[in-house]
């Protein structure tokens, strides 16, 4: 913890600014997803990452472009943080030919070899093996890549995760299991689905692990950097738990939430624990950036995001004949 705080204070200025920039990018992206969805321009389901930005950004900023990630149903933030461009993301979310997956994957399946994104996954915990396998290949082929497996705490219910934790530790694979604990599995508090202490799930396999504040992007970055470099230098896998919160519903349609979580709880996180506000304030208090500079970042990104939305809305749907393509390589 203190080690992390210490390391956090050593983060170079440009990186500190970039952490802010990337979090704002995700926030703006998701706000537009919410808008597109409520305007019925986006098909399917939309699981917003708003409130959890510090985790994707803190972790992915500690990775190289060639490093691997696997993502989840709530994956927009991971994909953007790993380097996906908003225009191709929006296009995919709207089911357009220009999207990352030619419209075949949609919100829950964004994938992009160019940024090491092995793919979002609509099966909870379903990508634990894929991330571990990418790490296996990295070790076998000696490429030095690290793989990060993002998953929500709900995936702790999936047996596959434990098989992979065992394999990763046994074979000392360069994979980092990142548990985004936002407190809820859909509409159920995780305490109703999870026995014992989450960190012990990693200790069960003798795996290095750490729990940190998922709303403090500097802390996330510091902790992630430590274990990613450790893995890259042959130190083996790690399990990181970041405590966080999703501001919106499980998906955009999940409006009336009072029956499963108190409004006051939501309010507290939004007002007291917002990762962007917290980091912005810190940047200003520590003289790293001025309000004007932060506003400029925001404005730049608003322009970029709006252009990306326009691109996606104007893009065309795949020709129906494309349905039979890409079944086999």
């Amino acid at each position: 913890m203190t080690a992390a705080k210490k390391a956090a204070s050593d983060i170079p200025t440009d990186k500190l600014i970039r952490l802010y920039d990337r979090m704002v990018a995700i926030r703006l992206f998701e706000e537009r997803v919410n808008d597109l969805y409520t305007r019925a321009l986006m098909p399917g389901l939309a699981h917003l990452y708003i409130g959890e930005e510090a985790i994707a950004v803190g972790v992915c900023e500690a990775l190289n472009r060639k490093d691997y990630i696997t993502s989840t149903h709530r994956g927009h933030g991971h994909c953007l943080a790993k380097g996906a461009t908003p225009d191709l993301m929006f296009a995919e979310l709207l089911g357009k030919e220009a999207g990352y997956c030619k419209g075949k994957g949609g919100s829950m399946h964004i994938a992009d070899p160019a940024t090491g994104n092995l793919g979002a996954n609509a099966i909870v915990g379903g990508s634990a093996g894929i991330a571990t396998g990418a790490a296996f290949a990295s070790k076998y082929l000696k490429t030095g890549q690290v793989a990060v497996c993002f998953f929500g705490e709900g995936a702790l219910g999936q047996g596959l995760l434990y098989e992979e934790l065992n394999l990763a530790q046994l074979w000392q694979l360069p994979v980092i299991f990142v548990c985004e604990n936002n407190g809820y599995n859909e509409y159920t508090h995780f305490s109703e689905s999870t026995a014992g202490d989450v960190a012990k799930r990693a200790e069960a396999f003798g795996m290095a692990n750490e729990t940190a504040d998922g709303q403090n992007v500097r802390e996330v970055f510091a902790v992630a950097s430590k274990y990613i470099e450790r893995a890259r230098s042959g130190g083996g896998p790690a399990f990181l738990q970041f405590k966080t919160y999703r501001y919106h519903g499980h998906h955009v349609g999940d409006i009336a939430r009072a029956y499963y979580r108190p409004k006051a709880e939501e309010q507290e996180w939004v007002t007291e624990r917002d990762p962007i506000t917290l980091h912005g304030t810190w940047l200003m208090e520590n003289g790293v950036a001025t309000r004007a500079e932060l506003d400029a970042i925001q404005e730049k990104l608003v322009v970029e995001m709006d252009a990306a939305v326009d691109f996606a809305v104007d893009a065309s749907y795949p020709d129906p004949s494309k349905v039979t393509e890409d079944v086999y390589a």
């Binding site: 994957g105 949609g106 829950m108 609509a122 047996g159 159920t188 795949p318 349905v323």
Partner: protein
Amino acid sequence: MSTAAALDVRELTFGDAIKEAIAEEMRRDPTVVLMGEDVAEAGTTFKVLTGLVDEFGKDRIIDTPISEAGFTGLGVGAAMAGMRPIVDIMFGDFLMIIMDQVANQAAKIHYMSGGKWKVPMVIRATMGATRRSAAQHSQSLHAWPSHIPGLKVVVPSTPYDAKGLFKAAVREDNPVVIFEHKISYRKVKGPVPEDDYIIPLGVADVKRKGTDITIVALSSMVQVALGAAKMLEEVGISVEVVDPRTTWPLDEKTLVESVKKTSRCIVMDEGYFRYGVTGEIASIIQEQAFYDLDGPVRRMGAMHVPIPFSPSLEDSTVPSERQVVDLAREMCNK
């Protein structure tokens, strides 16, 4: 027309018919419990069970961790030990995670024990595409359990059938997998008697009488077949629509008799086309009605591709009324 339409009773949606079946069986038998993810206060992701927890409490409408294999296996043991659990598999696609517990355990325990142990449980899963849920949340996998001896498989198409078949499934002493078509939950309405009735598993239902061609349709495809039948009537083709209602046990007799009468047959299903249920049913029909057939039994199923997300691609993967009409006209040369 279906047995129910005859009676004049209130209409329920497909989803409410299932909720009523579960509520009635839970009132009747205290050993019936239902467990799954977000089934209690949330009333399932599809809001199909809303309210049940208020009547039966959290000890009988049980929220589980996201452990489909875990609570399905738990259901198998509970069934052996005197209960009648209903396990809820939110998306049928997740059956892939629980097949060992369903097909290696539940399906075989009665036989392996020489008939000594019974596994009276219901696995309720969903099926159906066109909800823009992409490849891992849109599949119709009923062909898999249908292949496994020891399981019974139910694929209801109407609210009336859904209630009667579900109640029968709960009273079965064998593991039953029931596939509920997601889009039908709200979209399909129909008459459902308030009284306690059972539809035995293994009895097909003629959803529409006709003389020129038989369409054997399952689950969601029954509505498509009925829609096509109306259009075909206009061009003078009289369609008989037969719904097996269960893939196993399978009411071969009713299917074959219909085809012997009409001499033409289309078998349609929303599952993947290849090595799915249409292959088995078409084979049985040509085996038993060959000499009455005017031409080969034809089949329609979901396009043999992973289900795409984009609306412009997804809709074409599921058989449409238009396609049925074209095929039927070709077969009847009209």
